[in-house]
């Protein structure tokens, strides 16, 4: 089953080297010339890490290959573009027409999808939906007009080639003067790398879905809890999780147990560096190009002003931390006030590791790297338990997104009650929803949320009440508002469902292979309502058309190509079906997508 290569199935390298990676990140062509031993020898020196090359213009030749590279101490095959992982940054200009000749030098089929680009469906690059894929040795020529500007990215849509390296940034300059002024402009492309063959990772998840989870509830924790909070509280905290057969630390499928987290292809040890002088306005284009990892990004000592989300300009909002769902992009402006280095710290949502880069006035500098945040449990909010309790946590979340940081610190203990107490009953509140209500009889669905919260101001698990001002969707307001003032003529309700234990994922309990395409009438304005019946956050991406997120009062907040639906939550967005053809609609967690959390959308 894991035909091509079976190496790397054992996690046996020293943990430190594994998570930190090598001090020499790969990313440049020709790295395959070095043996792993030579690269290891270079561990003590910290050379300037390579930045993905930038290709500008209107015509491009992109060659997909399998250049071996070294991120962890072992030379591994990758899926590269022009010999590079990440793939080269493509620099385009709005209102031009680009031509991309993509040559496949792999022994297998390949493809490139331009994520967030509005283009004719034949150019969208999804095998079996937009085109038949690019056969080995073949060239496919993409050609389309650029009708937008901002930060986007591109990646393979074939099997797990995105995981093995086929992802890169797209930067599109506006046709007119850029309203976002900056002295420096850096792409910060986050990703996750594994030395294991992703086909093997997928097979492993089907065999044992918590294989990569090294934060399972333990007897040792229970003993500590019982000592601190009493036996009764310790039992209460666990009862619901155990009755429901859910793991309260199930925030991701694949963790730092196998992943090394990268920024622009550089491991934490390689420390990719963005240069900026004191006082300069620096535009960082944050892109989450990982296959399975949400990142919480912050730059200790600096505030970030978000100016763009998924390539769309937003009213500037200043925050200290941003959770970047898989496939989301945010542009932020930072202004280093002192002549010193600052750490760009991106911890994985499950706190099993981090990516790290440095913003510094000169190369070769580094600042302190923060500790990983605690591995708190998911809470009742994430289970969509009892509305009243949820509203209460919702209020906490609202506080978290207010400016009042001092007050937030003070509430820390109280937060602990909800967050770390997990699903235990909180005295004086209404009884939580019964477990019976949440259970399903469908083998493809391991839980249902009866009363999902629609709160958009919740930063999400492991960010609530951390004392930092964290960006939420409620903070985002697209400049100019909705593009289409019509109200929804039709609604499509989809539930995000799964069975974690069996590693089955789908919409409405159906996998892609079990479901018919979803139809949009060409030209209609429709509302998509997504309800997350799982304990994981899912980044849901519609190809070819943007969605406009609705606030609870119905007004449009932000235009995005990828919406993260938090566990136990519901959100709705409006889509104008103005792009006819066949499109993919899916969860952007690669392993969920390949497991079937995918639909074809037909606009006709």
């Amino acid at each position: 089953m894991n035909s091509t290569f079976r190496r790397g199935s054992v996690i046996d390298v020293s943990r430190r080297r594994f998570v930190q990676g090598l001090s020499v990140g790969a990313g440049a062509a020709g790295l395959g010339l070095f043996s792993p031993r030579q690269l290891l020898a270079a561990d003590s020196v910290v050379p300037a890490p390579p930045t993905p090359m930038v290709l500008s213009g209107a015509a491009f030749d992109l060659t997909i290959g399998d250049t071996p590279m070294n991120f962890t101490g072992r030379l591994q095959p990758t899926t590269s573009v022009n010999g590079s992982v990440p793939a080269p940054t493509l620099h385009w200009r709005e209102a031009t027409v680009v031509t991309l000749r993509v040559h496949n030098r792999l022994p297998t089929s390949s493809s490139i999808h331009w994520h967030g680009l509005l283009l004719p469906f034949q150019m969208d690059g999804v095998p079996g939906i937009s085109f038949p894929g690019i056969a080995p040795g073949e060239t496919f020529t993409y050609r389309f007009p650029i009708r937008q500007s901002g930060t986007y990215w591109y990646h393979s849509h074939t099997r797990f080639q995105e995981q093995t390296g086929l992802y890169g940034a797209i930067v599109i300059d506006p046709a007119e003067a850029d309203p976002i002024q900056a002295d420096r402009d850096h792409v910060v492309l986050l990703s996750d790398w594994t030395d294991q063959n992703p086909e093997h990772v997928f097979a492993t998840l089907k065999q044992m879905s918590d294989y990569y989870n090294y934060q399972l509830p333990t007897a040792a924790q229970f003993a500590r809890d019982a000592r601190t909070n009493g036996l009764r509280a310790a039992l209460d905290k666990r009862r619901r999780w155990n009755r429901m057969r859910m793991i309260p630390t199930d925030l991701g499928d694949v963790s730092g147990a196998t992943y090394t987290y990268l920024i622009n292809g550089a491991s934490p040890a390689a420390n990719w560096t963005a240069l900026a002088k004191t006082g300069e306005r620096v535009r960082l284009r944050l892109i989450n190009g990982s296959s399975s990892t949400f990142f919480d990004v912050r730059i200790p000592g600096l505030k970030m002003t978000v100016v763009s989300a998924d390539g769309q300009r937003v009213e500037p909002v200043t925050v200290e931390e941003i959770r970047l769902g898989v496939a989301e992009t945010y542009d932020v402006i930072v202004q280093p006030p002192e002549d010193r280095p600052y750490t760009i710290f991106a911890q994985s949502m499950d706190r099993s590791g981090y990516a790290r880069a440095t913003l510094a006035p000169r190369a070769g500098m580094q600042a302190e790297v923060p500790e990983l945040d605690p591995k708190t449990w998911l809470s009742m909010t994430d289970m969509g338990m009892s509305n009243r309790q949820m509203d209460m946590t919702g209020q906490h979340a609202a506080h978290g997104s207010s400016q009042d940081m001092g007050a937030m610190q003070g509430m820390h203990d109280m937060k602990g009650m909800n967050d770390t107490n997990g699903m235990g009953e909180v005295p004086g509140m209404s009884a939580p929803m019964s477990i019976k209500d949440m259970q399903s009889t469908d083998p493809a669905i391991d839980m249902r949320i009866m009363h999902p919260s629609r709160a958009l101001d919740d930063p999400g698990p492991r960010l609530r009440g951390n004392g930092r001002r964290v960006l939420t969707y409620a903070d985002l307001h697209t400049v100019g508002g909705a593009t289409d003032q019509r109200a929804a003529m039709r609604e499509i309700h989809l539930r995000l469902t799964g069975n974690m234990q069996r590693f089955i994922w789908g919409f409405d309990g159906k996998k892609f292979s079990q479901a018919e395409p979803i139809h949009f009438d060409h030209g209609e304005r429709l509302r998509i309502v997504l309800t997350n019946d799982t304990m994981m956050a899912h980044p849901i991406h519609l190809h070819g058309m943007f969605g406009e997120l609705e606030a609870s009062d119905g007004h449009v907040l932000v235009r995005k190509h990828t919406f993260v639906v938090q566990p136990g939550k519901q959100l709705s967005y409006l889509v104008t079906a103005d792009n006819p053809g066949q499109w993919a609609y899916h969860c952007h967690l690669l392993y969920h997508m390949e497991a079937g959390m995918f639909r074809e959308v037909v606009v006709a």
């Binding site: 894929g133 509305n387 234990q501 104008t576």
Partner: protein, 312 residues
């Protein structure tokens, strides 16, 4: 941002009229009111695709008007029947496109060697307990085998082949056959059971068997992985066997015949591979115990075990 309901309903009527006109000109694509031209999102369809059918389900403007005022609070969005209707393009079938590589119905497999151990007791030897499956998400073929060989004698040797069908989120229904071999004549049984995870994370297998000559049997196995730390795991396991009628040639009496309580402490160097040490308390009951004693065997056996758990 919010628009007065009246204005909304007006706009809605206009939209309906627009769709209505699209229905009349079925061969023309239903082009929507174009968004403002200044927007970067303005879409110019690259290739207009006329719907094969532009039949429009009837829409009651009154219903729609009501629906426009929905979602006033932060409570869950109630599905609105008037807005939940199929697309007019439902009958349009996109041309078949080769190259789909999504493989969400792939065949997976797992070979799980639960115990492969050396046994130290009054009678030294070795034992194994293994399970393997191959199949998709909802239907799998399971093979289960267990046996021990103590003091040159093979005991409790079983091989089962079962079709497993997912019937509940955490439970499989199993149907198949069991073959007993080792000491005494071989026996073949039909098997029917369930296997899955009970609340509080107990792994449970409960199987009923029917053999020739009216023989029946039942087996229950319950085990639990207690994670002491992320890598040290204590696994208690209880197994009980019962038989409908005696089978003296295989030293089995009727009723509850034997039970094992086992406790193993393993260290997961990875989740895939774990050496362990353990203790097995094996006891025969009732008529089976009597038979054992009359043969000079003990009805109770204690064993120290050490071995490997791994899966492929």
């Amino acid at each position: 941002m919010s628009t007065p309901p009246k204005a909304q309903s007006k706009r809605l009527v206009a939209a309906i009229a627009l769709i209505g006109s699209a229905a009349v000109h079925a061969e023309q694509p239903a082009v929507s009111t174009p968004p403002p031209a200044s927007s970067p999102m303005t879409a110019t369809p690259a290739r207009a695709m006329a719907p094969e059918s532009a039949e429009q389900p009837s829409m009651n403007p009154e219903d729609m008007k009501g629906s426009m005022q929905m979602m006033p609070d932060s409570s869950a969005h109630a599905p609105d029947a008037s807005l939940e209707r199929p697309a007019a393009s439902e009958r349009y079938k996109p041309p078949a496109m080769p190259g789909m590589d999504m493989d969400d119905a792939s065949i997976q497999h797992r070979v799980f060697i639960e115990n492969l151990e050396a046994v130290n007791s009054a009678r030294n030897g070795g034992a194994w307990d293994a399970q393997a499956w191959v199949g998709g998400d909802f239907n799998k073929l399971w093979l289960k085998s267990e046996s021990s060989r103590l003091a040159e004698r093979t005991e409790g040797a079983k091989l089962e082949a079962l079709w497993a069908h997912a019937i509940r989120p955490f439970w499989d229904f199993q149907l198949g056959a069991r073959h007993d071999f080792g000491a005494g004549p071989a026996r073949v049984w039909g098997a029917l059971g369930i296997q899955g995870i009970a609340p509080y994370w107990f792994d449970v297998e409960a199987t009923a068997y029917a053999g020739d000559a009216g023989r029946t049997a039942a087996r229950l196995k319950v085990e639990y992985d207690l994670y002491l730390t992320q890598r040290w795991v204590l696994k208690p396991e209880v197994e009980l066997n019962a038989y409908g009628r005696a089978d003296p040639q295989r030293q089995i009496g009727s009723g509850l015949s034997d039970g094992q309580f086992e406790l193993r402490l393993r260290y997961e160097s990875t989740r895939r591979f774990a050496p362990y040490v353990g203790f097995v308390w094996d006891r025969k009951f009732g008529a089976t115990a009597t038979m054992a004693r009359s043969n000079g065997d003990s009805a109770i056996d204690h064993r120290l075990v050490g071995g490997l758990q791994f899966f492929l």
